[in-house]
Point group: D2
Chain length 337, copies 4
Amino acid sequence: MLRVGVNGYGTIGKRVADAVRAQPDMEVVGVAKTRPNFEAEQAVEKGFPLYAAIEDRVEQFDEADIELAGMVEELVAQSDVVVDACPSGIGEQNSELYAEYDTPALYQGGESADFVDTSFNARSNFSDANGADHVRVVSCNTTGLSRLVAPLREEYGIEKVRTTLVRRGGDPAQTGRGPINDITPNPVTLPSHHGPDVNTIFPDLDIDTLGLKVPATLMHMHSVNVTLESEPDADVVRDLLEGESRLFVIPEHFDIDGAGKLKEYAQDVGRPRGDIWENCIWGESVTMEGDDLYLFQAIHQESDVVPENVDAIRAVTNSADADESVRKTNEALGMGI
Amino acid sequence: MLRVGVNGYGTIGKRVADAVRAQPDMEVVGVAKTRPNFEAEQAVEKGFPLYAAIEDRVEQFDEADIELAGMVEELVAQSDVVVDACPSGIGEQNSELYAEYDTPALYQGGESADFVDTSFNARSNFSDANGADHVRVVSCNTTGLSRLVAPLREEYGIEKVRTTLVRRGGDPAQTGRGPINDITPNPVTLPSHHGPDVNTIFPDLDIDTLGLKVPATLMHMHSVNVTLESEPDADVVRDLLEGESRLFVIPEHFDIDGAGKLKEYAQDVGRPRGDIWENCIWGESVTMEGDDLYLFQAIHQESDVVPENVDAIRAVTNSADADESVRKTNEALGMGI
Amino acid sequence: MLRVGVNGYGTIGKRVADAVRAQPDMEVVGVAKTRPNFEAEQAVEKGFPLYAAIEDRVEQFDEADIELAGMVEELVAQSDVVVDACPSGIGEQNSELYAEYDTPALYQGGESADFVDTSFNARSNFSDANGADHVRVVSCNTTGLSRLVAPLREEYGIEKVRTTLVRRGGDPAQTGRGPINDITPNPVTLPSHHGPDVNTIFPDLDIDTLGLKVPATLMHMHSVNVTLESEPDADVVRDLLEGESRLFVIPEHFDIDGAGKLKEYAQDVGRPRGDIWENCIWGESVTMEGDDLYLFQAIHQESDVVPENVDAIRAVTNSADADESVRKTNEALGMGI
Amino acid sequence: MLRVGVNGYGTIGKRVADAVRAQPDMEVVGVAKTRPNFEAEQAVEKGFPLYAAIEDRVEQFDEADIELAGMVEELVAQSDVVVDACPSGIGEQNSELYAEYDTPALYQGGESADFVDTSFNARSNFSDANGADHVRVVSCNTTGLSRLVAPLREEYGIEKVRTTLVRRGGDPAQTGRGPINDITPNPVTLPSHHGPDVNTIFPDLDIDTLGLKVPATLMHMHSVNVTLESEPDADVVRDLLEGESRLFVIPEHFDIDGAGKLKEYAQDVGRPRGDIWENCIWGESVTMEGDDLYLFQAIHQESDVVPENVDAIRAVTNSADADESVRKTNEALGMGI
Ligand SMILES: NC(=O)c1ccc[n+]([C@@H]2O[C@H](COP(=O)([O-])OP(=O)(O)OC[C@H]3O[C@@H](n4cnc5c(N)ncnc54)[C@H](O)[C@@H]3O)[C@@H](O)[C@H]2O)c1
Ligand SMILES: NC(=O)c1ccc[n+]([C@@H]2O[C@H](COP(=O)([O-])OP(=O)(O)OC[C@H]3O[C@@H](n4cnc5c(N)ncnc54)[C@H](O)[C@@H]3O)[C@@H](O)[C@H]2O)c1
Ligand SMILES: NC(=O)c1ccc[n+]([C@@H]2O[C@H](COP(=O)([O-])OP(=O)(O)OC[C@H]3O[C@@H](n4cnc5c(N)ncnc54)[C@H](O)[C@@H]3O)[C@@H](O)[C@H]2O)c1
Ligand SMILES: NC(=O)c1ccc[n+]([C@@H]2O[C@H](COP(=O)([O-])OP(=O)(O)OC[C@H]3O[C@@H](n4cnc5c(N)ncnc54)[C@H](O)[C@@H]3O)[C@@H](O)[C@H]2O)c1
């Protein structure tokens, strides 16, 4: 059993903890948090030993009557791998702590790619993380793009990718984030940083990305163009994508017109938290114009990186190869919606 | 075992079907639907025999390869009770069908109160529905207000209720509904119809309501004023409310600032579809100024009427009294968040 | 000619500057700003001498090629009155500067009521500001409530006011403000601070307010209940309100259902920036139930305080009495939509 | 003086009427409308003779006390040109009426391109409309794309255009339109109809477009890629665009991050209704990657077609050539923000 600690029990961390617990070859030794809110209470309720991340705040947990198992250092000490899911930038600060205890660590996409040994996407470069100490699971958007690029590249070759990322302004519970009624180029300068981030997975891919923010909370939406090196029929491309375990090609008769109905569907099938770990590609949108492939895909920012974190745990500990790990993860979670 | 049919398998209907199935004394004999979308497919997937509501559309189900068990008439014929959860106004049209087969029927809050024997709220007037043929489970907002009014009235007496209902513009998957960036008095004329609807449960209650629509999808929000006939301490009122099984008084340290975090919490605790069957009352907001009680409550429009429908099934079939039914429903669903 | 300086040239400040310039008895001697954005450029374009509010930032104006007339101290020195429209809290800090130069100053509603001589609403307590050094023009919401309370109180007497303020989350250009899809009690504790703020104008008024924030940017919406000391007909109340120069009672046949159409109307009639200085009361909503008056009013947060600032300038300088000032201001601006 | 009638006095029609009136060589002989709402009242207030478009509704205008000048047929009879700005599809129905009276007519972008002599964009194909009877001024989005394509094509040659149109869900006053919290591919099938619409102006242009709808009301946003036939520096391209009279290249120091601040700026400079007739291109976003040009532009859907309608009036009446007409229109309106 791989002993996994989760540092930062928020949107990503709590999902990773549940997903790790669902694996046959892993257990959660504890989770660390800074504040005694409803998420902290739920950690305890679910039987995850709760560690305080900041000494000064221990008192606050006491006041809220939430039991602590100790300080984060103790959690790191007893973990085979730590998954760091702290807010952007904190992970890099924490890396020294993990190094001190010689505990391999995974970081999330909000961290810089510079201080880690490798960035990670299970479908694309699993083995690069074998035995690494510091691995960054790329962001929700980069994960979504990598999963799509990988099969297209293998099958047809890619001349160039051009993608507009219409990003949700904030997660559903982030009341402090806007915009309320605007569409903002973000970043304004082009191409956006998302392309270079995909290059941490596919170093030689020619990709230009443009980012925007809009007043929506459910999912990101990608308007994708890929100029291929050959000219397959759209049907054949759709079949290829349907064959990928972490791509969900939405059937036409489902009558799903956006992220709202997608999430409704995920809730109906009983997905925990209504999560959608798969890229959601509109089947009808998959189109070829000459060698230009076009499609729309929606990305559930809160959860698509979750199975990737699970796989990365196996990668850094050399406990399975890509195929075996992905199969295990998928089966344990119930991938395939 | 009570044999229950659900006619209209949408937002409300699919939840009622799941809730009925979870009861020890009930089974779902089938559900009826008009269109072969993802919800229809899920009905079949979940093992609910699927009936076509409209003859002409049978073909569409065939084309989508979704198996039908028959026509809605057959469903009604074999049901002890039918729960009608069709769009507003269709229920009244369907009532003749139910009468024809002598099958008692429940309707939802979008229907008129005029053609039914009684309107229904489990906490407030359960026994009025005993043996009735046509019963209307009141709307999400009226359910929410009734649950709150009942204990206050019993305990303190109520001089007058004044409530502003800040309503969500549409459900999360209803992409066709607005407004996008507005706050609209709705209806403009005052008081709104919500007050009279509460009077179908409490005929002699003095209540004035005002309604608005805003660009939000998660929950309704009630800004409540109740002038009581006595002047209890706010703490005591809060304790009273906490004692009600379908009221959830949000603890301060949960740090929940709106519907987004409430739904996040419901998802975290594993509620199916992230549903919140309970009224959600902010504990900190419960305040007395003289004999005026004030508080905020959020109402999950998609699910608070679900346990009420389950209770109404027992009421019309005389298979349990209020206390027993509510206890059974609560236990089967896992009420108490 | 009264020489007026405007310190803080943002949403409120730029409107006050234009409104002051439109008066026959006033001139704008300059405006002060911290950053060289499009608003700074427009100040220069419009011929308002531009002063730098912060020494360190002078360079930034140079880089953007925006000409400065000097530092804010020079502006204060040559002003008969300064209107401070800086972000909340900065006004209080600036008050020492104004005192130093013996320049009477007006502050906006975001400032505390504690450090000023009086709070101000032209309709309600104009003369309290005569000769004062520090006067606070109350916030957009408090201005809106005061204008409504004044005539009702004089005509019928008020037993109690209970109002729910459904507030816009941010102004149209504030992309950083949310929520995107939520309704948040704000503040959660009741009654909200808005009631006490109205009491700075009407000290003995019995008023309880509740506040919420929603994802809209155009206007605030008030759901108003006033328990009167008599029981006039609703028609008579509507006539009374129609007689007030800063209340606009929306005619039914205008077919205006919310803030969107209200602003459209204001743009159509040629209002500068589409501003609506008047409270907008839905005529159809004005209703009496016993001694309870109900109505909806929309408040244009960006502009309703503008004419009040103009009047306050005359009040502190004793250059007109209430009636004369209001008449002058209204005529110069074109009040009455 | 060209005598112009406007049939359909809504979002587009009322702006066209004002713009026509502002021209030295045109006058508005009347406007026609179906309903007596605030817009109808404003038409009369502004001195535009008001004609009823539908016989049966005349009574409604009487009831609202809004004076009519006659029926729409009379308006058509006395007009040299009619601008039809009725809702999509109605224009085509009206075309018979215009033919009957031999009055040349302009239609808006919501109409089909099939029944007209030519589609129109002043910058791109002015003279195609000379002497035509039925001319369609292309939609807001197509106008925006055409203005951008024209100079790039002339200067560098265009290999291919790929553009994602992130469209506003509804206009600010359209409370009935959503989505509230979603991003919807619209249309789902690719490429969208916008590309073919641009081909009505540039028949041989290779262009693929993708469309989405989001919960915003202020402006559309285009994420543009143009593969050029040469590789100019980005600076040079920006200079080229700055030289176009109906393109506004937003300076960096304006600190404008989206449509909210753009509209604020337009209001500040005193534009009627805060309209922005120009494409708004973020200067910082203009980028070359090899032969791929990228940029963001915002399009004010309510007004960018207005100057185009004015020019089209001159085109069909042969009363000026392209350069002269554009110069006149621009000067009369105050183009150049
Ligand atoms: N939310 C998303 O959409 C998303 C998607 C993919 C990747 N990410 C990345 O995942 C990371 C986490 O994001 P999130 O959305 O889960 O954030 P979050 O704010 O929801 O959760 C962060 C958690 O970390 C805790 N925390 C803060 N400081 C801490 C510290 N010093 N030590 C331990 N815990 C601490 C917070 O209490 C919180 O529970 C970021 O790098 C982010 O960029 C987020
Ligand atoms: N959604 C809410 O927030 C909410 C809350 C409380 C009560 N209600 C009430 O519940 C009722 C249903 O609302 P909903 O939101 O579930 O609607 P919905 O549109 O989500 O679902 C209605 C379902 O009925 C089906 N249907 C339509 N016509 C039918 C017919 N003739 N026969 C059988 N099925 C038919 C539709 O296919 C759909 O599946 C309405 O009265 C509504 O007012 C809704
Ligand atoms: N916006 C509203 O809806 C509204 C309504 C009524 C009252 N108010 C109140 O008006 C005041 C101003 O609000 P606003 O919305 O106009 O803010 P704003 O942010 O739009 O404008 C403030 C301006 O002050 C400038 N500024 C910042 N620090 C300064 C300093 N030290 N010296 C000089 N200028 C400085 C900023 O550059 C900006 O131009 C606040 O008290 C606010 O509470 C705002
Ligand atoms: N609003 C936009 O963003 C936009 C942008 C570019 C083009 N357009 C196009 O302009 C046209 C008009 O759109 P709009 O947004 O101005 O619509 P609108 O609904 O705002 O205005 C239409 C007007 O026509 C009137 N009308 C309806 N039926 C009529 C009839 N039979 N005869 C005369 N008048 C009638 C209505 O009362 C209304 O005043 C459509 O083709 C639309 O596609 C709209």
